[in-house]
Symmetry: D2
Subunit: 382 residues, 4 copies
């Protein structure tokens, strides 16, 4: 029966799906009478039994439905796809938000990081598995299978993924790692197919790309667990590696610089100078002249600009700093990719995971503050 | 941190554990003030948002704790073991029941049958896996590895299990199956190591033993899903098999017969006659003389005696009848095992899973009623 | 030591290799004195002992050397590569032929078909394995990984290979199979990525491409064993398949037609007409007009033209007819590939493996004769 | 066809088998006329071609037969079994020896150590594989599966085997290894199920048992290769291990001592004293009093007593000394096993594989001589 409900859903067109989700929203809400009864009972005798009853009757019947659908053939995969469809509808109909809470509640339980298994992907992995890297790598997209092979070379490149047993051979998330001699300051190393593979002194592991593959799992956190497990794994298998960094984009920098309220004129002028310095034919001196002001602005954006809840404005900074990393270096220009130019004038940064085994977690709380004082360098790059 | 909490728990002695669970019970209850606030808000405006908030604040903080512990090393396995310990304490301290509700709530979500994978175990499976059959088979215990091998002979014996990826190589539950020419009327076939393996006409699959291995998962249902998946699997791989039955114990029969209120004297007399007929040296005629009355009583026990909620009194009957099977035949004596004698004078029954693929579920609702009228046979066997 | 000899060989340039093989030829021959002694002994007493001794002393010491080298790291793979190099030298220095006899003697023993394992390759196979199909498919070369995936679609395409445990993940030989509704008359189906995958009536298995991957194993026969095992495998797993055919090239047809001694003028004229009919803009009628004569000539070439040992002149015909197949149909034009045009005016043929399980072998001896009378059809194609 | 010949052979009784092997011997010998022709040709022109021809015609047709049988179902396994049967017949009919030469010639080629794969067996290996250890361990037989598990505990016990892809899951040979803190002087550690598994200082790997499982492969050498590969493997995976020794039986010692020609009276007296010292109730002093003379005699037997070809008389000593080991220590009494008492008064020895990686082979030639002077110790132990 679960299978046939899922089959029926997948036959629906756009309108049918919207109607289905409206039905979930409107008709599958908790019964107000039962809630009222449970409240009366609790108010009369506020025991654990009565509060558990209150908890039970206030649970949306949608959750029971979703749990039952999970029993259908490929149920988990298809429910994740269903939420992906739902998110499209939600964008147009924000009033359906309560339905999303039920998806999230269940998915957080089902995809608890304790159930995810770290897998190392290699050129010996099934083609049906590694093809997903080709498809979902969006940070540094791959040109084809030769590129893919290059990123799976075991001597100096690695790829790790979380797989979930109910989601087949499509990873939930994967991270690509390069073992290098130095902390990289630009993306050139990624596409270098002719690099020397052998080296005795690869002491740096650079996590240069993290990608999710299931839109339907938006909001379920795995990235921090993946990074921690990957670092622990590399530490164990490549004891010569002592430094763990990222080479990360700064997605909101241009927009912030061009619009920051404090000194808009100055911000726009600096943005214009940065763009000018990147034009073909510019001299290295012209770039050098802009760099100090641009990296200072970037530092200010990354470490001092916060949202209303005090969190870093930049989403990537927010992720890594909360995750215990510190901002290590600001590199400009680090990439000539059009996307990176649009986001940040080609500027990218290294976050440093300085995790001695004992306390990868301890740093988390104070990550942001620490990083202000300790790790930012002034001589950012060449 | 999760790991160290689990480590600390596992160091505790009996008293320490009881104290820990009392702490969970007393100190990790929902905050009454927050509950009160959420109630007020809902009463003011009974929207989905306010009922979801009510649901959220009435959730026990124990659940958040258990979810966090699941992130520790072997977290899932160790939480299942923790509940096993908890159940020991609960037996002495029934007031801790609310804690069990939280274990159950999480485990039902985590071990949703949609996440379990059916595995066929064989003599080619790892020793570390099949040794659990040796350890946990309690219906027809194994004498040793030769016995085990005999039960994994692929020509006429099979064994299926649900494994969960976070619980290593110990199955959650397993079922043993024999492919036979006839519906078995006694347990003799189980221990027959010298049987002929080859046969062209094995059209009966007998599910003769189902065992759980995790006391900590008591109350989480997998048995019905396992049976359905096993039947579908055998149907696909052994198309010559057309009949699916069990050979099941009747655990409450003796007690019921000796104590049934309706006609206690007659019940006790029949019990005495059954025991007498089983004594060494009895003639076949003596057995035949008792059989009609004894099987009639068993039929009455299995199909007509219900608890206060209208369910069959016998737990095994309750399981199979609710699961869509019908009572097919009552066999006496079917086993001379001491345990079976104590439970049911050596009487055992076949439940028939007459599941044409389309509607294994359809039968469920009417399973009990149907079986009364249709499938019980009068010439039970010897 | 074996490893270092192999290392040293692999460092040699072209001249060094030629010198090495000349050394093997000249200096590693059997000792004539020992041979003379063994002859004398045998002539004196022609026992089994003395003939075994004669056999032993007449064995080239090269064989002992090659056996010892096989113990080196990756020894087998590197010896196969060594022979590949040797064959290049042999082409220039035919006097080294005795050295090849020793390679062949050992390789026939080592790669006895009894040691080869049939593997079914699929999109779930390691990338490092299936990439060899991309590299070595020369009959119908692949455009890339999308093409490769299409040829590994399990619903209607299959690929089988012999792997040898000492040669890693590069197959010795592989065959590609399409399950189709009809016996194919042209190569169009091979590159059809948009075909319907599902069909209830695929009763034909077409073996449309066989490729070897190791030049160093030239002359070691596996193809016939592979075909027989593949047919048996498909028969077992796809019982709906009842017809096994090839779609094969006719590599020597053009040359034969243009040069055949019997009636050279007529042959050349027909070749010219065939070429003219293939030119762009030709009408279907023009093609139809040439077809009867061209297919009759092809039939004559394939079934009546033999070499001095009475074997079919055409190497592909020789292989399949000796292997028990019969010539089933001549298709023209079957391919517009330049290579096929050059070989055979685009003409290709189906060989039919009519192997009822019991006697795949029985047909072998009379394969050729049978095919003359029985299976060639006159209405070859459209 | 190959399969049916093998089937027919396996149906034969003892007499049938003897007749079959006599037929192989008598009727499948090389053709004397062809041999005579090839001789004449070679004498006329002693080229490589003519000696290769001589080699070819002097090959027994039995080899072609065996190669063809290898193509049958399970051909390799069944030919190995056939030789096992043949060896039984050969023991009664030594005149059939030439047939064995052909088996040996083929098997040496097929089971060239370059084709064998080292496998580490563990408790996670298939039961169908590890049960062969139970069956074929004859040096220190196992009491059952609990014993087996103990010998596969990964923390301090290991087991390695050579498997051949055509012989299924029965290893050709396996060796059991214990990681210990000291070089063991008795067999007590083998059966100690209650030992402490964890230890930080296991620097000694003791190869305490080597067993072959195929009687039909007698005379095909794998033991030396296995030992070298195992040492290399442990060295790589357990870098803390620096010492590799055996604890080996001395099978011919008692017989030699009781019969040695030089001083028979003295030998018999010493043997009597050794036996007396082993009787129940003997004091440690009585043992100590006999030890110096007994170990001196053992040293003399092992290192100075050679056969007509100058090789050590003792077969185990011959194997290890030729393989590059040196005699390290003589232990008495090392075992109270009846078999060991009968062979050597319970005396056992350690052979030391002092193989620094670079030259495991270099030691081979001088192994015996070296050991006389260097490694035997005088304070043998109790």
């Amino acid at each position: 029966m679960a299978s046939s409900v899922l089959d029926a859903f997948e036959e629906l067109d756009e309108h049918g799906r919207a109607a289905f989700f409206r039905y979930l929203h409107r008709d599958l809400a908790p019964d107000p009478v039962a809630v009222g009864d449970a409240i009366a009972r609790w108010q009369q005798s506020p025991s654990q039994q009565s509060v558990q009853r209150l908890h039970a009757v206030s649970e949306s019947p949608r959750q029971a439905l979703l749990r039952a659908l999970n029993l259908g053939r490929d149920g988990t995969f298809r429910l994740v796809s269903m939420r992906s469809r739902f998110l499209e509808v939600l964008a147009e109909h924000p009033e359906l938000e309560p339905v999303d809470q039920d998806f999230l509640h269940l998915f957080r339980s089902w995809f608890n990081a304790g159930f995810l298994k770290l897998h190392e992907l290699s050129w010996n992995s099934p083609s049906s598995l590694v093809e997903h890297i080709l498809e979902y790598e969006s940070v540094h997209p791959l040109g084809g299978w030769a590129d893919l092979r290059s990123r799976l070379e075991p001597t100096d490149r690695k790829c790790f993924a979380f797989l979930h047993p109910s989601l087949g051979d499509r990873p939930l998330i994967f991270v690509e790692v390069a073992l290098t001699e130095e902390i990289p300051t630009s993306t050139d190393f990624i596409t270098d197919l002719d690099r020397a593979r052998q080296s005795s002194s690869r002491t740096v592991a650079t996590l240069y790309s993290i990608n999710n593959t299931y839109p339907g799992l938006r909001g379920i956190p795995f990235g921090n667990h993946l990074i921690k497990q990957v670092i622990a794994h590399v530490r164990r298998h490549n004891p010569e590696v002592t430094t763990f960094v990222t080479l990360s984009p700064v997605p909101g920098f241009r927009r912030w610089l061009e619009e920051r309220p404090a000194d808009e004129t100055r911000g726009r002028r600096l943005a214009g100078e940065a763009d000018a310095a990147l034009r073909p034919g510019t001299t290295a001196e012209a770039v050098d002249a802009v760099r100090p002001a641009l990296t200072a602005a970037a530092r200010s954006y990354l470490l001092e600009s916060t949202d209303s809840r005090g969190r870093p404005l930049d989403p990537v900074a927010r992720f890594h700093l909360r995750n215990g990393a510190v901002l290590h270096r600001i590199n400009w220009p680090a990439s000539t990719g059009e996307h990176v130019i649009n986001q940040s004038f080609g500027l990218m940064v290294n976050y440093l995971y300085d995790s001695g085994e004992p306390d990868p977690v301890a740093a988390t709380a104070s990550g942001h503050a620490t990083s202000t004082h300790r790790s930012i360098t002034d001589e950012e790059t060449a």
